[in-house]
């Protein structure tokens, strides 16, 4: 059983209508300065208000002509982070739509960019989670985008294309209802680990894939390696989340 369906991708509105974007013309030299400021703000952000400020700067920079790809990508990263930190479900549902729209505008402005495809795939994934009526179409869209990412930029985000596609294939409803396919998911998880074995999330997805396909001992080893790698990367802002996820999964395997 799945919920009723709507399309995951609708035509995006003009940039000025997304979130807090100003939409006013920005000189390219000013855009570069805005981008630098936004990156600094996002890197240092410790609370949602700071992330929102960074997002505003990225969206403002996206008003330059030609719009720099980094402005869309930064706005997408900031939006994704806001979604994860937002406690209000209604606001999360607004944010995920904005995230998808930013990804679409990124791809419209930079059709050849694998980064835009990757960010759009992630945003569609968040949207599928928060707006379940988009999930069926969204999962198919994600698979298509991620396959394109893998073909064009397999190393992007430490083999993020392989890693995220593995997650989709592991967690989506199976054939013929959805694209779920644990065996193919395991292949992509192995590809992510082969390319970037020291990236903790790659070991976590490998652990999940091995568990899903019946190799409990292999899953335990991958997750233990994920825990060790996450501990060794304690300075990374995402290390705590990786560690918590790995330890939870490890507890279930033991």
């Amino acid at each position: 059983m799945v919920a009723g369906c709507t399309t995951a991708l609708k035509p995006p509105p003009p940039l000025a209508e997304i979130g807090v974007g100003t939409g006013r013309p920005v000189a390219i030299s000013s855009a570069e300065a805005l981008l630098a400021e936004a990156e600094e703000e996002l890197a240092a952000a410790r609370d949602p208000a700071s992330v929102e400020r960074a997002r505003r700067l990225f969206l403002e920079a996206a008003g330059a002509e030609p719009p720099p790809v980094g402005a869309f990508l930064g706005a997408a990263r900031a939006t994704a982070r806001l979604v994860e930190d937002e406690p209000d479900a209604d606001r999360r549902r607004e944010l995920v739509v904005e995230g998808v729209q930013i990804g679409q505008l990124c791809l419209e402005a930079h059709p050849a960019s694998p980064e835009c495809r990757y960010r759009l795939a992630l945003a569609v994934g968040q949207q599928a989670r928060e707006r379940s009526s988009t999930a069926v179409d969204g999962l198919e869209v994600m698979v298509e985008l991620l396959e394109e990412v893998i073909a064009a930029a397999p190393d992007l985000d430490a083999a993020g294309g392989h890693r995220v596609l593995a997650l989709v294939l592991l967690r989506a409803p199976g054939w013929p209802t959805g694209p779920g396919d644990p065996e193919l998911g395991l292949e992509h998880a192995r590809a992510a680990v082969a390319a970037f074995p020291d990236h903790p999330p790659n070991q976590l997805v490998l652990g999940e894939a091995l568990l899903e396909t019946g190799d409990r001992e292999g899953a335990r080893r991958a997750l233990e390696r994920g825990v060790a790698l996450a501990r060794a990367r304690s300075a990374d802002p995402e290390a705590a989340a990786w560690l918590a996820e790995a330890e939870t999964a490890l507890t279930a395997v033991r």
């Binding site: 059983m1 409803p173 959805g178 999330p201």
Partner: protein, 294 residues
């Protein structure tokens, strides 16, 4: 990785237990306790989704049926189970007056649970009756005896009499040496079959329709196609509840397909409409099941 946690987040629910919204809900529940609540239990073992994931769609279906019956939106409830055990347990509860179940589940549990057919559900884009289809590696299987020592994997594997009876009795008697296994994830088994391993897969109508699109479909062959069988059956449960209300609920569900205001609710559970029971087809399935169960 946390960005792609596809499992739905639970909403905050009633945080303030005495807030106005919760008070209204509590009063409504108290009122229902005296009004003979009726619950539709939907069970499709091995099919996608969980009870929690499906609940919004179940709520939509129940609400649409309640409106069609002229009841309050909360006077009829629906809940989904993707496991046989979960469905059987829930159908044992006093308010479970209706069940919507797959044919293998119906045949397996009709006596134990007192299931009485009322309507057939027609899935979106499909027929009320569809054949089950046995698939194996191309050129490896031509008669039932060829399956000796093989695995036979299916969504219907939880009911061996269904597999041996309604699904495959028309082909012949399966040998004792075939291991019948239940699995909702048949893609892996289809790959193994395509590689020439001793695995046969019994597909439902939706799976059979999607088979030609698989990249390795040319390595597989359809070995047998059953007679068309009901896909899913709406039943009353053990004569439970007020018969007038139950009859009204069945009539409301039967009417949903013609109500534009119910289109979204039906689409949410991937049902096009409910139809009268095909008694001849169901009787044939029951006879084949009984023959295999003996």
């Amino acid at each position: 990785m946390s960005l792609l946690t596809l499992a739905a987040r639970s909403s905050s629910g009633c945080r303030g237990l005495l807030g106005p919204a919760c008070l209204v809900a509590c009063l409504a529940l108290a009122g229902l306790a005296g009004a003979d609540p009726l619950t539709l239990v939907v069970c499709a073992p091995g099919y996608p989704g969980s009870t929690g994931e499906a609940q919004p769609a179940m709520d939509g279906l129940a609400s649409a049926a309640a409106v069609a019956a002229g009841w309050g939106r909360d006077d009829f409830r629906a809940v989904y189970f993707e496991t046989e055990e979960g469905g059987v347990a829930r159908l044992g509860e006093a308010d479970a007056g209706l069940a919507l179940v797959t044919l293998p589940f119906f045949l397996e549990h009709r006596e134990q649970l007192g299931l009485e057919p009322e309507l057939l559900a027609v899935p979106v884009g499909r027929e009320p009756l569809e054949p089950w289809v046995l698939v194996a590696a191309a050129g490896k299987v031509s008669r039932p005896a060829d399956l000796a020592g093989w695995s036979l994997v299916s969504l219907a594997g939880h009911s061996e009499p269904f597999v041996r009876g309604p699904a495959l009795a028309g082909w012949g008697a399966l040998p004792d040496g075939v291991a019948i296994t239940f699995s909702g994830a048949v893609l892996s088994s289809l790959r193994r079959a395509a590689r020439g391993e001793p695995v046969a897969v019994l597909l439902d109508g939706e799976q059979a329709a999607a088979l030609p699109e698989l990249p390795f479909a040319s390595d597989l062959a359809v070995v047998h196609r059953s007679a068309p069988l009901p896909v899913s059956v709406l039943c009353s449960v053990d004569g439970r509840g007020d018969p007038t209300r139950r009859t009204a609920a069945v009539a409301a569900l039967a009417a949903l397909g013609g109500r534009p205001d119910a289109a979204g609710a039906l689409a949410g559970v991937r049902i096009d409409r409910f139809e009268p029971v095909d008694r001849a087809a169901l009787a044939a399935a029951e006879a084949a099941f009984a023959g295999a169960a003996d």
